[in-house]
Symmetry: C2
Subunit: 455 residues, 2 copies
């Protein structure tokens, strides 16, 4: 049943998903378990509960339940900013002159400016339910930190954010948004933790990395009564919460008879990509439908396309459990490119396993070409995209241009994770032709990978 | 017919208005005509066509047609970011513990961050249709300039923006958004115009004003082949385009059986307020329904509450037609408060006449109380509001708290014109307790009003 497609599809409130979808339940090859860094044995819920609150620890290890009920309080919060629209990019199609049909799921219509709020509210909710005082976290681009600040303000929880230094400096106003929502924000690496001090001593001029900020936030959470650590990406629980993106998208597609051929998402830690593709991947895994999935990562931090599938630390300080993932090595500190949210050395173990099984393909793109796509998109579709999201736009445009050559009327769907309002320093560099590309050498990557944990 | 009210009401694309509503057609006392500053005779379409493009000049003087068709190209552009949601503020109601029902029409879900895009695309469209090369304009907070840049980029028109200096300095990233959309941006007053040079000579340290930036933009438009001037507020044509806000709101209210008792909007030049209330005012003027309308202005720039209803210049440089309006005098330069979009010395002649006829009430509020309301709203409703919009939030909260005392279950509707992502300097001042209030003295206002044109 196919209807005329409006520019924007909003589901009715009554059509919103009431359960998250856990793709691990349908995966034949499950993602490898998290390991205790001391014993190299799989982490238990009890062990994880020292770092995460208990219900999230259970979700982290749940590989069997396909659907998990979303608590009513979270559903109510979702209603403040969801449904996110599924947009038909009529204007972009016209500008490209492509026969392809382009759709994007736009997650930027909330103050965090991204999809991150979907998991922030879930993690804050379970922390509150457990009676905790507060949570600690890291943030790269600042979207996750803002999202968590918003969720904590709503629920009355304390929130301490370690923000990757390069983003802290390039995005001074992000800090003020987080402060407006009542959060403490510290640039990372900092002198407030043992891990931070050690990294600063070893690399005095470092601009930081997500891996390092994670270590600091975990150290503070574990060392402070009534606090737990929360993380905005990489973890399987985060992909579970982010499945709301894909579930809404699939419901909207089904309602309007839209059948995507290619589904594209930017990939840093994997939260957006994993969330967007999960329910579609479920159909593929169950043999109900087929799709091409493309993960897009920055050429400056190419964990899928140039990393190794191995157990590694999730953080630079090596305080977290070991995860099997495509990684560039936990010591890898990417150049100061501007897609702060994609500056992570590893990839979600769920996405990594799907990629290793050949169910997802991956591409890396350079940032000047990403900003060119961002500008083109902004001018015809009106939305100023985040640099992270623009990685997906780049590849969506490339695919649509291929269709222009072949005449194929493909249906292309991509995740537009957020807006770039706090990324204007990067846009300014691009506008002033002062932006350059950086691709790590094979030697740099090999050197970093040489330090993978051995066992 | 009353249905359960969702958190957010989105009209279907097929339910979107296809005509603008011109409230002047239903006004018994028409707004006073624009006068030629030399002859003091009413301006004709021919005269106005030197400054505005012809079709807009006609709309400016049209006081008889109640409905004007929206061209298809503009309807298509509207579909990129409209409908704007009508939001039931369940979370704010709960936080306030009020029996009042609070709704807001949220216009911030587009890159200009405000309602300004509604008129920008209309004005750019008619300029393009007339075969012009480009347009010039002024911008205060930067929302109008961004909106016009977006509309011009979409249509391939050149765009020159004069930005009030205080906003230019407080909002460095606004300039980059406009540049990303291909606009030229100059801080005003500038050395690029006669008017700007004269003002700089007289007031070397001035932080600028909308009135001054308008003069510069008009001077450039009139002096450059193939250019016309466009304005983001005050004009009757702008209120006409902005009626899309009220029309959508009314359609959503009617669909769900919502009957607002009180309708609140912030008022700088009157574009948002006028647009939101127009169709409701039409019903009131035709005796079909009754509503209380409240215009909210900053205590630092109180044109309705402390100004005089008289003919005045629309701009500091006195190059524009004379308009009868509530004014503080065209030489009034408000203190550098942060609601840049409300720093205008006069008020739309439509709103002025309605106010003079007792059909609208007005209140002025101080900015620290406005930011307190903004923060409270942000934390429970998730949206970080623009300082301008927060004036309406302040009064909506005040009204809801009155209901808490009286137990009245009033339905309060306000216009949430935009987001505050580019206002973080102001939020930072508030967060750091460095924000102060400023109220002009009676002497300051009297001194400015002494220079009203005499005839």
């Amino acid at each position: 049943m196919s209807k005329e497609i409006p520019y924007k599809i909003y589901l009715e409130e009554s059509e919103l998903p009431k359960q998250w979808y856990n793709v691990r339940a349908d995966m034949k090859n499950k993602p490898a378990p998290l390991l205790n860094p001391a014993t190299h044995e799989p982490m238990t819920v009890d062990e994880l509960s020292g770092v995460f609150c208990r219900e999230l620890a259970e979700q982290e290890l749940n590989t069997t339940d396909a659907y998990i009920d979303i608590p009513q309080e979270i559903l109510d919060f979702y209603k403040m900013y969801r449904p996110a629209p599924l947009v038909r990019a009529y204007c972009l199609e016209k500008a490209l002159g492509t026969p392809a049909k382009i759709y994007y799921k736009f997650e930027g219509n909330n103050t965090s400016g991204s999809h991150k709020l979907n998991s922030a509210i879930a993690q804050a909710y379970y922390a509150k339910k457990q009676g905790l005082k507060g949570v600690t976290t890291e943030t790269g681009a600042g979207q996750w930190g803002t999202a968590l600040s918003m969720a904590c303000a709503y629920l009355g929880l304390d929130c301490k954010v370690y923000m990757v230094k390069v983003s802290y400096e390039q995005k001074p106003f992000r800090r003020e948004v987080m402060r407006t929502y009542g959060a403490d924000v510290t640039p990372s690496p900092s002198n407030t933790t043992n891990v931070g001090r050690a990294i600063l001593e070893k690399f005095p001029g470092t601009t930081g990395s997500l891996g390092c900020a994670i270590s600091e936030a975990v150290e503070v959470a574990v060392g402070t009564e009534g606090y737990r650590y929360v993380l905005g990406s990489v973890l399987s629980q985060v992909l579970l919460h982010q499945s709301i993106i894909g579930l809404e998208t699939m419901a909207a597609c089904d309602k309007y008879g839209i059948k995507p051929d290619t589904i594209i998402g930017c990939a840093g830690g994997g939260s957006n990509l994993g969330g967007l593709i999960s329910p579609f991947m479920g159909r593929k895994l169950r043999g109900e439908a087929d799709y091409e999935f493309i993960a897009v990562e920055p050429a400056s931090c190419p964990s899928l396309t140039r990393g190794k599938y191995a157990y590694d630390f999730c953080d630079t300080g090596m305080v977290c459990p070991l995860a099997k993932m495509y990684t560039l090595g936990s010591g890898f500190i990417p150049s100061a490119n501007h897609a702060g949210g994609l500056r992570y050395h590893g990839m979600s173990s769920v996405v990594s396993q799907l990629y290793d099984d050949g169910l997802i393909t991956a591409r890396s793109v350079e940032q000047t070409s990403v900003f060119a796509a961002a500008e083109q998109f902004a001018r015809v579709e009106g939305i100023l995209p985040a640099p992270e999201s623009s990685h997906a736009i780049r590849v969506a445009i490339d695919e649509a241009l291929k269709c222009k050559e072949t005449g194929e009327e493909k249906t292309i769907l991509f995740g537009l994770t957020g807006t770039g309002y706090f990324d204007m320093v990067a846009y300014q560099k691009y506008n002033d032709h002062e932006m350059s590309d950086y691709i790590p050498t094979d030697e740099e990557i090999a050197k970093s990978l040489a330090n993978l944990p051995k066992f």
